[in-house]
């Protein structure tokens, strides 16, 4: 008993002390404590009051508090709930700093303080509130931050502040942004119709998503039904029921929703009515067991309706009559016809441009995909295309290259340096693997392409499993250097990531490198000689064994480099290679065996085709791949030797 009393006393004392402590705090702390619950459990819906109170107080710390709060730098001391700024001393200790005075009040263990973690919704509300401080801030970075906040969460009040800040802006980049934002806000919030129309017209050539985001809401419509067209509203268009824009059922549903026609009786409602009227095993005189068909049920329901036991069904004639007696139209939510007309015009001119740019973007995507396929297939173009060896383990060489990149990054922490090391190393590793495979397996099977296929398939599954045993099944990170992050943005529609550009460049480099090696070097000459006629080549003093080995090594080594590139843009797993193997073979076959240009064309064809089909069926990327393969199968019917067919003796038959 005494124990409970003591605990109670202690609690009371604590409360008293705590209350006292609160009393003695600075005004900003008091204000925060008043709204303590809302600050602790901040939500976008409740935060406005707190921020309003802080702004209304006019306290000098307000801006700092809001900014730090947004950065998750506002902390709370658990013992009394007071708010502080904090900085980490080490992993487990934090130094608390008084909000008002900026002085350190002591170091606390992590367990004794809690960080306030406003979610990103709250953070954006805070950012919107901070705008007023930032637009005229001497620091351009802060001004830019304010503009970003407006872009993300525009408010009517921003318009005035923004207009006022334009005058004194001396940074030309920021000035342009401000002026653009000012026009966007004008469209949304200004009262002057002429100003708005002018602003709308100024965006008629603008590709920005934000411009369209400002224009589209102006054209939002509501679909309505009425006995006659109302006067004085801004009507977008009048619809005819039964047309594709307004099917009969939808039109009738509109009438029902507007209480202009009786609702249809659904099948479920009919069933319910039938069940409700079961009496002595019959419904409306019909025995239950005969009601197992839709027609019988319809008859029974009609009988019920005749007896007044259920609401009568609406007949087709009834629907037609109701539809005929009413008009249907889309009404703009924006009452001013001048605005909607201007917006309509601006948008239609924008949408043409957007269409062109989307096509351009799609072309870039296709180009990028083509270069990835090309890079994956170019090694194969040598081993399969030039030597005629089916190497099913080609994909695993790509994987080995990617893992080489990963291992290098474990030892070389600088990403740029690690990529520079990884590329030649990946070449070396897979070159060695290719040479080993050629010496041990492929050399014995040169005239047996189908057997080579099986043997290399065996190697492929063994290598894949080996990679799993060594590196585990988790995907491994292969991180591109910072200068390859991000994307080349031409406008809001057309953009392409730098890593894809790099892959494209790499593909081009290899194209020319290989063309050079094959056509201009002694090795290339020997390669072509050995492939076309090994005996003749041997009698000319060429060592076919050596040439084959080097050729195969070269093809494999390039696969390794492709692996690093693919790993950078996608994932590094043991299954990386098998994702590309069938596509790679098809690239080579479609392009035409034995010709690097053919492989290039094959990759381009497949890449663009796949993106093209994807564009026609955007919600289903699998369909694109399926139809692409079917296309290839059919294509090969008509050009069995690929796009570029070798002629004469080099063709082999």
């Amino acid at each position: 008993m005494t124990r409970i009393f003591l605990i109670g006393l202690r609690a009371a004392l604590f409360w008293f002390l705590a209350a006292f402590a609160v009393q003695a705090q600075s005004p900003i702390q008091d204000l925060l404590q008043e709204n303590r619950a809302a600050v602790e459990k901040a939500s976008r819906k409740t935060i406005d009051d707190v921020i309003g109170a802080l702004l209304a107080s006019g306290l000098p710390e307000t801006r700092e508090v809001l900014a730090r709060w947004r950065e998750k730098e506002l902390w709370q001391r658990d013992e009394d709930g007071l708010f502080f700024f904090a900085e980490a001393v080490d992993g487990n200790t934090y130094r608390l700093i008084d909000i008002a005075t900026g002085e350190a009040v002591g170091e606390y263990d992590k367990k004794l303080v809690s960080q306030l973690k406003p979610n990103s919704g709250v953070r954006s509300v805070i950012a919107t509130a901070l705008v007023r401080f930032q637009l005229t801030d001497p620091d351009p970075a802060k001004r830019a931050e304010g503009l970003t906040a407006i872009e993300r969460g525009p408010e009517a009040s921003h318009l005035e502040a923004l207009r006022a800040s334009i005058e004194g802006e001396n940074d030309s980049g920021l000035l342009a942004r401000k002026q653009r934002l000012e026009r966007l806000l004008t469209i949304a919030y200004d009262d002057d119709s002429a100003l708005r129309v002018a602003a709308i017209e100024s965006f008629s050539t603008d590709l920005g998503v934000d411009a369209r985001a400002a224009l589209n809401p102006l054209l939002a419509t509501t679909r309505k039904a009425a006995p006659a067209l109302p006067e004085g509203v801004n009507i977008a268009n009048v619809l005819k029921p039964g047309s594709s824009a307004l099917p009969r059922s939808e039109a009738y549903a509109l009438l029902v929703a507007a209480d202009l026609a009786p609702p249809l009786v659904t099948a479920a409602q009919k069933k319910e009515a039938l069940i409700a009227n079961i009496a002595d095993g019959t419904v409306a005189g019909m025995p239950i067991h005969t009601l197992g068909t839709a027609e019988a049920r319809a008859r029974a329901y009609a009988a019920l309706a005749d007896q007044g036991l259920a609401p009568p069904d609406v007949t087709e004639d009834g629907i037609d009559a109701a539809l005929g007696a009413h008009v249907f139209f889309d009404q703009y939510n924006e009452p001013d016809a001048a605005i909607t007309a201007a917006a309509e015009e601006a948008l239609s001119s924008v949408s043409t441009r957007v269409g062109v740019n989307q096509a351009l973007d799609l072309a870039l995507d296709g180009l990028s995909l083509a270069s990835i396929y090309f890079l994956a297939a170019i090694g194969l173009a040598i081993t399969f295309g030039v030597m005629g060896v089916i190497n099913m383990a080609h994909g695993e060489f790509i994987m080995m290259g990617a893992y080489t990149g990963y291992v290098v990054q474990q030892f070389v922490p600088n990403y740029t340096a690690s990529i520079i090391v990884a590329l030649p190393l990946a070449f070396a590793v897979t070159f060695a693997a290719g040479v080993a495979m050629e010496r041990l397996v492929i050399r014995w099977l040169y005239n047996r392409p189908l057997e080579t296929l099986l043997a290399t398939f065996g190697i492929s599954i063994a290598l894949q499993q080996l990679a799993k045993n060594i590196f585990g099944t988790q995907a491994r990170p292969l991180t591109s250097p910072g200068w390859l992050d991000g994307a080349l943005v031409l406008n809001d529609v057309v953009s392409i990531s730098y890593i894809r550009i790099a892959i494209f460049v790499l593909g081009i480099i290899f194209l020319f490198l290989l063309l050079f090696v094959l056509n201009k070097t002694r090795l290339g000459l020997e390669m072509r000689a050995v492939t076309q006629n090994p005996r003749m080549a041997a009698s000319m003093g060429i060592n076919p064994d050596r040439v084959n080995m080097l050729t195969f090594g070269l093809g494999s080594g390039i696969a390794g480099i492709a692996g690093v590139a693919i790993g950078l843009y996608a994932k590094v797993t043991s299954e990386l290679g098998s994702d590309y193997i069938v596509q790679s073979f098809m690239t080579v076959v479609v392009g035409g065996v034995g010709n690097i240009w053919g492989t290039l064309l094959g990759a381009a064809l497949i890449g663009f085709l796949q993106k093209g089909i994807e564009w026609m069926n955007p919600s289903n990327t699998l369909a694109a791949q399926t139809y692409m393969i079917i296309f290839i199968i059919i294509f090969i019917q008509f050009r069995p030797k690929g796009i570029i067919a070798l002629k004469g003796r080099a063709a082999g038959d």
Binding site: S43, R44, K45, K117, P118, N119, S120, G121, V122, R123, S124, R152, V209, R212, A213, A214, N216, P217, D361, L362, D365, S368, L369, Q465, K468, G472, T473, Q474, A475, R476, P477, T479, D485, G486, A487, V489, D492, V493, S495, I496, S497, Y498, I499, R500, Y569, A570, K571, V572, T573, E575, D579, K611, E614, W615, P618, S619, N620, T621, L622, Q625
Partner: protein, 421 residues
């Protein structure tokens, strides 16, 4: 005796039934194929838990023997391996599966042979099998709260539902679509896209999502992308410079494990909804994380399905002790109402519908690949049949009370005892 000799002689000792002395736990997780990235960790978790339990003296005085098989991300193989585990190996319980497709594949086998499965992954609901305990989240414990968060806290008005093409994303998105329409989101403001497992070329889809913003509504992405396809998706997202402040992405299948495969510095602020994060602040979690790192290496991470296995295994051990046997029917009876501590500082209770009570956590991705927990609720009871689809709203699962996993409360009949697959 004769039988034994025959079996050994005729069919080689290979396939012979094993002795029944010890308690056997089957571990059915893909160690190869596209799901291995996620599932291998769960196999290691189970091995660790079993080792820990054996160090404590085993169970009912017996040693627990794990039987690890590799269904190789291949659904038919899942069914085959389940049959082998139950009838050849005679395992008492199976901990396994990740994708719903694999679970659906083994359901008929489990129900036919009366096996017991602990399924550790968040899933789409619409199911309650007598032979499965669902230790992951049902939609009302993950998808719905996360969508609420998007609606309420972030003010998202237009949704892109991106998913891998199989049961879980399809059904979850169906529920979410119904839910969003309930909340007043128009059908044209919901963009749905499905990609195959292991998809890697995301540029077009990411561009499509960006273009959704053209009508002035705030866009949010709800991702049910599964497995290693996530890596390409997030890399493309980062490359396109999509900030979480502009287009937030909340993922239901991306945890610490998936993030360890990529550099997250460009993804800070994107979200995931789970019932557990490694960063959860609880002593029992610190212990678990420390044991895991000590076993698997300092750079390894823990994640939500691992916690589900921890809870599931603890519960199973308790149920076996309570029942005094590892027999499936006795254990099932003993499971109901059991409570074990979860790793986020609360308690998990086994409900009559074979689901758990779980807290809902929402975390923001940080630069170190961990999640910053920004929202945590009380424990929510898992709902097998969602309230947001009209045909499911009338259904209820209650095994001890009604003996039925699909009970229609309107007609007061048990729709079916066995599950759909």
């Amino acid at each position: 005796m004769m039988k034994k000799i025959l079996s050994a002689a005729v069919l080689t000792a290979v396939f012979a039934g094993a002795a029944q002395a010890e308690i056997k736990v089957g571990i059915l997780h893909s160690l190869s194929g596209t799901m291995a990235i996620s599932e291998t960790t769960l196999k290691d978790t189970m091995l660790m838990l079993i080792e820990q339990q054996n160090a404590k003296g085993g169970l009912l005085g017996e040693e627990i023997v794990p039987v690890v098989v590799d269904p190789a991300s291949d659904w038919p193989l899942f069914a085959e391996k389940t049959r082998e585990l139950i009838s050849n190996e005679g395992v008492d319980v199976i901990f396994g599966c990740w994708t719903s497709s694999s679970r659906k594949a083994i359901l008929p086998v489990l129900e036919e042979l009366n096996g017991l499965l602990f399924y550790p992954v968040q899933y789409e609901g619409e199911e309650s099998s007598k032979n499965v305990f669902y230790t992951g989240a049902a939609p009302n414990q993950q998808a719905i709260p996360a969508t609420d968060y998007f609606l309420e806290e972030l003010g998202v008005e237009k949704f892109a539902l991106l998913g891998t093409d199989y049961v879980y994303p399809r059904t979850t998105n169906k529920i979410l679509e119904a839910y969003l329409k309930d909340k007043g989101i128009a059908a044209e403001d919901i963009f749905v896209n499905y990609t195959p497992f292991g998809h890697s070329d995301w540029s077009k889809i990411v561009a499509d999502v960006v273009a959704l913003g053209a009508d002035g509504k705030k866009v949010g992405v709800i991702s049910t992308i599964n497995g290693d396809a996530n890596i390409g998706f997030y890399k493309e997202l980062a490359a396109a410079g999509i900030s979480a402040d502009d287009i937030p992405v909340v993922a239901f299948s991306v945890g610490e494990e998936e993030l360890s495969g990529l550099d997250t510095s460009n993804l800070v602020g994107h979200l995931a909804a789970w019932n557990y994060f490694q960063s959860a602040d609880a002593p029992v979690n610190e212990e678990f994380v420390a044991a895991w790192k000590a076993r698997m290496g300092e750079d390894r991470v823990t994640n939500d399905p691992m916690e589900a296995h921890v809870i599931g295994f603890d519960m199973w051990v308790q149920a076996v002790e309570k029942a005094g046997t590892a027999d499936v029917d006795a254990v099932r009876e003993a499971m109901y109402g059991l409570q074990v501590p979860n790793l986020t500082g609360g308690t998990a209770t086994m409900l009559p519908n074979h689901h758990l009570t779980k807290p809902v956590l929402i975390g923001e991705i940080q630069a170190d690949g961990q999640f910053d927990i920004i929202s945590q609720t009380e424990e929510v009871p898992g709902d097998a049949w969602t309230d947001y689809l009209p045909e499911s709203a009338v259904l209820e699962a209650d095994w001890p009370g009604l003996g039925c996993g699909m009970y229609n409360t309107e007609t007061e009949t048990c729709v079916q005892i066995k599950s759909n697959y």
